[in-house]
């Protein structure tokens, strides 16, 4: 959940690290810190966002350094709990992304042996363990220390009087950027791409010894070779390009993204395990879970294959998987819980398929097959285009499994999304931005669409929004309806149309304002509700996509009206690499 960067080369390290941390800010932004090597270790660390720091502080001298931007897990966000952490002698500095599960035991032992702890973090134990193991060679000390740790980590370590940077990884992402006479390290490749397109992904258990201009990777003391990948996206694709927020840019990229996603998998590349499956389990978290739920509503009637759907975090409490195939959906490919589910499947000899946006992410290396959704880098913490891409990929899977009967419909998806991007939502935003509570209701496949819409609203506008299957409203939540709790409903022609009309009348009878997503010239809907958000007439699959986009835009414009931090909502981080 945190972001780490390291540099060893010919430039001044501090500005490079600062810029890198700004790029990683989406991974956590409650405190930051940098350490550079200049005979002794120079440190600057602080609670707050790294983007608030304009120039690198003068004390940070040196050509080798490490940096960290934090999403607090152990200890509140404060100057002291910010990384880097030092040992007692202030000779060793480390930054860490992940969680050390046995830190409490280790900490007790270390205090017993006379070590003085400054912070409440789990990370600090590593610094003290390294101090104990250190006998002249930092690499050696790291090799002795790592076996003592259980949990997940990506580590960067420097020690005074040594121009090396040591990196180690276990279950947290870490990549190296190979430049000319300079080496970079970071939690993901966006900060590296400004300087180089050659990237090495470290594997679990790897230790990398980095010098300015050269690096070697070891497992234990055994040298290993890791493939150098050439990255083809230009760093400019992660600029705002004039948009006020990354989220808005990403929403507007969706027409192209849906097209790419639909073509990400074809008759020839569909994993055989999916083709032969007679039962499927989908494991995912957050927005990806909603994409999985849409998949269930589409696949079950189309192919008669039962779909079981689980949250990644709950899947570990279920018995050995009994489906033919497990599909794990994760934008980043690093979501700890989804990754654990895939690994559980592999251990139990069940075929696994990963759907992700990031090539060479941990999930792609764990699952048997991978479908890449080609959404391009997503920076905004709230998922928009990656969700559409997931739904696009899953719709194409359903289409392929049901004999490609819906190809013509999917061909229309791109234009349909382009069309709804122009919708004027002012009236709906007026209603939402004044509310403290919102209810989202839908039936059938539109129920998960509403769940996703409510999640977006919660995430970025901080308005309490809950989604219900429309029929469930009467079993309790109806008690909460009042003239100040607007309801957002979707009512389009189909099997649920008449009953939705009835539901909306019941809601309206309680004096509750309704915003309805409905067909533009549908008089029946217009007569009941307060605001109609027009949805073009189309096949239900297309309406799933267009209504999703409209709900994203509703959340975005509401949050913007309320002046929220849209790209980096409070307390959240983009990729959840802790359980």
């Amino acid at each position: 959940m945190c972001g780490i960067v390291g540099y060893a080369g010919y430039r001044d390290a501090a500005p490079v690290l600062l810029q890198g941390l700004r790029r990683l800010e989406y991974r956590g932004y409650d405190s930051y810190g940098i350490a550079t090597l200049n005979k002794k270790i120079c440190i600057h660390k602080k609670a707050g966002r790294v983007s608030e720091l304009l120039d690198s502080p003068d004390i940070l001298q040196g050509k080798v350094g490490i940096g960290h931007t934090r999403w607090a897990t152990h200890g509140i966000p404060s100057d002291i709990n910010a990384h880097p952490h030092l040992d007692c002698t202030e000779q060793i500095a480390i930054v860490h992304n992940g969680i050390i599960e046995n830190y409490a035991q280790l900490k007790r032992d270390l205090i017993g042996r006379g070590h003085v702890f400054r912070s409440e973090t789990d990370t600090e134990v590593i610094a003290h363990l390294l101090e104990e193991a250190f006998s002249g060679d930092l690499l050696d000390a790291v090799r002795k220390t790592l076996p003592l740790l259980t949990g997940s980590y990506a580590l960067l370590i420097v020690s005074a009087g040594d121009n090396r940077l040591i990196a180690a990884r276990n279950q947290s992402p870490l990549a190296l950027g190979i430049g000319d006479d300079e080496i970079f390290a970071a939690s993901d490749i966006t900060p590296l791409l400004e300087y180089t397109s050659r990237v090495v992904y470290l594997d679990d258990g790897d230790i990398a010894e980095i010098r300015p201009g050269s690096y070697s990777v070891y497992i234990g003391s055994q040298p290993v070779q890791r493939e150098v990948h050439e990255i083809t996206w230009a760093p400019d694709t992660v600029q705002k390009g004039g948009f006020e927020h990354f989220m808005l840019k990403e929403i507007f990229e969706q027409p192209d993204v849906i097209h790419q996603a639909i073509h990400a998998v074809s008759e020839l590349t569909l994993p055989a395990s999916l083709r032969d499956a007679s039962s499927v389990t989908v494991v995912a978290c957050g927005s990806s879970y909603h994409a999985g739920m849409i998949f269930r509503y589409l696949l079950e009637p189309a192919c008669g294959i039962p779909v079981r759907l689980e949250f990644g975090s709950e899947y570990k409490y279920t018995p050995v998987p009994f489906s033919d195939v497990i599909i794990g959906i994760s934008q980043s490919g690093e979501t700890a819980d989804t990754l654990a589910a895939i690994r559980k499947g592999v251990c139990n000899n069940v075929k696994t398929v990963a759907i992700t946006n990031v090539l060479s992410s941990s999930i792609t290396r764990s699952a048997h097959d991978t479908i890449l959704m080609h959404a391009g880098p997503e920076i905004s913490v709230a998922a928009s285009k990656s969700f559409i891409a997931q739904v696009g990929v899953l719709m194409q899977v359903v289409n392929l499994l049901s004999g490609s009967c819906c190809t013509d419909i999917l061909d229309h998806a791109r234009y349909a999304i382009e069309q709804v991007l122009l919708t004027d939502l002012t009236k709906a935003v007026d209603l939402c931005s004044g509310a403290e509570h919102l209810f989202y209701v839908g039936r059938g496949v539109f129920y998960p669409v509403m769940m996703e819409g409510a999640l977006k609203m919660k995430e970025i506008s901080y308005i309490h929004a809950e989604a219900y299957a429309a029929g469930e409203l009467k079993h309790g939540p109806f008690a909460l309806l009042s003239p100040v709790t607007p309801v957002i409903a979707i009512c389009v022609p189909g099997i649920a149309y008449d009953v939705m009309l009835g539901n909306m009348k019941e809601i309206k009878a309680r004096g509750t304002p309704i915003i309805a997503l409905g067909i533009e010239d549908d008089g029946d809907v217009r007569d009941i509700v307060d605001v109609v958000v027009p949805l073009p007439k189309a096949h239900p699959w297309i309406q799933v996509l267009t209504s999703t986009v409209l709900l994203q835009m509703l959340a975005y414009h509401t949050a913007n009206r309320l002046g929220r931090e849209i790209d980096m909502p409070r307390n959240l981080a983009k990729s959840v690499t802790v359980e």
Binding site: A234, D236, G241, G242, R414, Y415, A416, E418, Q419
Partner: protein, 388 residues
């Protein structure tokens, strides 16, 4: 200090409706690239790299497109479309010295840009047969003596191309909202502005003008043959075929023609010179397309004949549809305008088989259903109409 360029792309281009309902004029594709991209390429070719684009109407669409180009372009937003000079002033904070000001919705060739970049305080001009649609300039011994924007009666055939090379102190003095008026006021105050003759320049006032612009720009496309082309397809002249496009057997394509990515064309389709086909377009057997712009995601069913037409994004054209070029007057609002085209179709139009269009404008999302064998001549069908 190198010369900066400010491209004005905030305007809507109302006379190009229905095509500008969903996008600003600068984003209309000509020779398979938005007009503004041709301008940017001309600037780059003329060695000008510091580019500022002012966006306004449908700004998200413009910004999204520019972001895809991966060029270091600075974006400036104009909140309200109050005029071209106001748009320029929105970019004032980003302007360091002298600038070149260009419209985002005209074609200007690199040679003209090189010429005007060399002359401080100057205006690019050309001659036009219908000068009253533009800013008419009077010139005496290479010096501009006046500019009159869209006069009722034009006294000269010389018109401003909307391209100016302005010094920073002149920009400081601008107060009028329109750039032509502002410059005219400067001339009255005694500022000397040099007239520079354009080599190649083209504007599109009305939708059918896009077809001429398309024909002018198509010869400059880079010919390439990606995709899958059947061995029995015949491809002659200057033709570019994008990635993932499939050209079926027996298809004949005579250049200059540009075809985008992921299209499916043929078998047995004929595409004649002066045609641009966007991306993801499907053209079914025995159809003919000539001198037309077909935008992205269009489906043209079999046995169609489309000439001199602009087909907007996402249209579906039924079997046996004909678009025949005819010259006549189309009533638009309270005037009638002389036009010559087959059909100008907005986005997302659906039309049933066996319909004939002559010199007709069809609005966005119009559905033409029901009876076949309808013939539309010299008419305008408004947006979202359902023809039964």
């Amino acid at each position: 200090m190198s010369l900066q360029a400010v491209i004005l792309a905030a305007g809507e281009g109302t006379r190009l409706r229905p095509l500008t309902q969903n996008r600003p004029k600068a984003l209309i594709p000509v020779a398979n690239k938005p007009i503004i991209e041709h301008t940017i390429h001309s600037l780059l070719e003329a060695g000008i790299r510091d580019i500022i684009v002012v966006v306004g109407y449908r700004k998200e669409q413009v910004m999204r497109h520019l972001a895809r180009l991966n060029l270091p372009i600075t974006i400036v937003r104009q909140a309200e479309q109050l005029g071209t000079a106001h748009a320029l002033l929105c970019a004032k904070d980003r302007i360091a010295g002298d600038v070149l000001v260009l419209p985002g919705d005209n074609y200007i060739d690199p040679a003209s840009i090189r010429d005007i970049a060399g002359v401080k305080n100057s205006i690019l001009y050309t001659t036009h047969r219908q000068p009253s649609n533009f800013g008419v300039v009077t010139i005496e011994r290479d010096t501009i003596t006046s500019i009159t924007e869209k006069p009722t009666f034009a006294s000269r055939m010389t018109v401003s191309c909307g391209v100016y090379h302005l010094s920073s102190d002149l920009i400081e003095r601008i107060i009028k909202p329109g750039l032509s008026e502002a410059i005219d006021a400067e001339i009255c105050r005694g500022t000397m502005l040099t007239a520079v003759m354009a080599h190649s320049w083209q504007d599109a006032i009305y939708p059918w003008d896009l077809l001429a612009m398309n024909e002018r720009l198509l010869p400059y496309i880079t010919p390439e043959k990606s995709g899958t082309i059947s061995s029995s397809a015949v491809i002659q002249g200057h033709v570019s075929v994008g990635q993932g496009t499939k050209i079926g057997p027996g298809t004949m394509i005579v250049g200059p023609v540009a075809i985008g990515d992921d299209c499916s064309i043929g078998p047995h389709v004929v595409i004649e010179p002066g045609s641009s086909i966007g991306s993801r377009v499907k053209i079914e057997p025995f159809s003919v397309v000539r001198k037309s712009i077909v935008m992205d995601d269009v489906v043209i069913a079999s046995h169609c004949s489309i000439s001199g037409s602009v087909i907007g994004e996402g249209c579906t054209i039924g079997e046996f549809t004909s678009a025949i070029v005819k010259t006549g007057f189309i009533p638009l609002g309270d005037t009638a305008i002389r036009s010559s085209c087959g059909v100008i179709m907005g986005n997302g139009v659906f039309c049933k088989p066996s319909i004939t269009f002559e010199n007709t404008i069809v609005g966005n999302e119009v559905h033409i259903e029901g009876r076949s064998n309808i013939r539309f001549t010299c008419t305008e069908i408004p947006d979202k109409t359902r023809v039964m």
